[in-house]
């Protein structure tokens, strides 16, 4: 059903159109940086939970920025793409590139938060638990991106889609956000991966579910 060769071709195509042009990938990164800097000016020395909440709010809106652009191609580009790939391959390819973009933006956001707001240091920990924390953030970003890819595909079909994308996505992102927030909070408190992995599995499940649903529904969407 899904041909690996086409997916590889798709990612090369994305590379040529998106990443080689700096205005493509740079926009959401810049957005994350600006919001992060704004937060660092407004909030001084937040406690770890506040730090994390602000980080996730920044990440959600940056991910929204990233995903909104993922289906914005010109009509001639779509005609080319439709000849190249089946609908399910199209959605999967777009979801993969959106996930990569979102993870990149999330890492940038985390790094800038650490730089500008300082790394939170919960009591009784001598070092920041960077690996478990980054894993939680990464899986959360991937989970957000799969839901967002689908809503982006939906809203790309609208002629007046300003604002509709956010309205469609935010309620659907709540479960993902709650699981990701809990997972990263536990990681921040220094819990080992043996405690964290049920949440990671939850994040993985929340990435897979929108993908599966999307693969079923996308052909109907694309026909219009």
């Amino acid at each position: 059903m899904v041909r690996a060769k086409i997916l590889a071709q798709f990612i090369r195509w994305e590379w040529a159109l998106e990443y080689r042009r700096s205005n493509g990938w740079f926009l959401p990164v810049l957005f994350a940086a600006m919001v992060g800097y704004l937060v660092s000016l407004l909030v001084r020395q937040p406690n770890p939970v506040q730090w994390l909440s602000l980080l996730w709010i920044t990440l959600v809106f940056s991910a929204l920025q990233t995903a909104t652009r993922s289906f914005s191609a010109s009509p001639s580009e779509w005609i080319y793409l439709n000849q190249l790939a089946r609908p399910s391959e199209l959605l999967l390819g777009k979801s993969i590139t959106t996930a990569l973009n979102t993870v990149f933006v999330a890492w940038t956001g985390v790094f800038l938060f650490g730089l500008w707001l300082g790394w939170p240091r919960p009591e009784g920990l001598d070092a920041f638990p960077i690996w478990t924390f980054l894993t939680s953030i990464t899986l959360g970003a991937v989970a957000m991106s799969t839901t967002l890819s689908f809503t982006a595909a939906l809203s790309s079909k609208l002629s007046r889609n300003t604002g509709v994308m956010a309205i469609l996505s935010l309620p659907l992102l709540l479960p993902t956000l709650l699981v990701a927030m809990r997972s990263s909070k536990l990681a921040l408190l220094g819990e080992p991966w043996t405690v964290l992995y049920p949440n990671w599995l939850g994040e993985l499940a929340l990435s897979a579910l929108p993908l599966a649903l999307g693969a079923l529904l996308f052909p109907y969407l694309w026909r219009s």
Partner: protein, 219 residues
């Protein structure tokens, strides 16, 4: 008039009378507010039933275009009107719950998983109406609306399923709170509660079908 419609009305009438007049168990804190079981909980059952109906119509709409035929736009009308009536029941469930919460918890709103689930459901379907409103072409409107309806319904059910496992809840039936269930729900209460649920589902379904017929006449 079909029998189930009359039955629905009769059951609602019975549950209104019996719910207010019959004996109920005397429990601390809950006291007489336990009667809210007959009015608050059936609203949610009705909402889920109507949303299920809306989902089924959306799926049938999408499948009607499978063989290259034009979409059956009447299915879209049904899906939309069922979702609308479901949201009225969601609001009724919310208000009856808020009045009850003020009496027992001391506040109209808390950050309880059950309340978050409700808020998300209302937001998702509000987004569904906004999405439909922002498309002019009826065929495109029907298709996009149906796709979002199916996508959102599944995620909403998952959300309502996982939320209570994420945080503690004060809501009856969660975390060892006095529940409208098991040992509290005695047989006398069952005799009112189950008819109330059935009656409200029938009545809600009837209201939705009436709205569909009205919409057909208006179009």
């Amino acid at each position: 008039m079909k029998a189930w419609k009359l039955l629905g009305l009769a059951l609602v009438g019975y549950s209104l009378y019996a719910g207010l007049m019959f004996e109920v168990p005397r429990l601390v804190i809950l006291n007489e507010t336990i009667r809210n079981l007959y009015f608050h909980v059936p609203m949610w059952f009705t909402m889920i039933a109507l949303l299920g109906g809306s989902l089924a119509y959306s799926i049938r709409l999408l499948r009607s275009g499978d063989a290259g035929q034009a979409l059956d736009l009447d299915r879209d009308r049904q899906a939309k009107n069922f979702a609308e009536v479901a949201m009225v029941f969601a609001l009724l469930g919310l208000f009856t719950g808020m009045v009850w919460a003020k009496a027992t918890w001391g506040a109209y709103w808390t950050a309880d998983p059950k309340l978050n689930g409700t808020a998300v459901t209302l937001l998702i379907y509000a987004a569904y109406f906004v999405l439909r409103g922002s498309v002019d072409d009826p065929e495109k409107k029907a298709r996009l609306g149906a796709v979002y309806n199916v996508f959102a319904f599944v995620l909403m059910i998952v959300f309502i399923g996982i939320l209570p496992r994420m945080t503690d809840s004060l809501h009856p039936g969660n975390g060892g709170n006095p529940a409208f269930g098991n040992y509290d729900l005695d047989n006398g209460m069952r005799l009112v509660f189950y008819p109330a649920v059935l009656g409200w589902i029938f009545t809600g379904w009837w209201i939705a079908t009436l709205r569909v017929r009205l919409a057909r006449l208006n179009s």
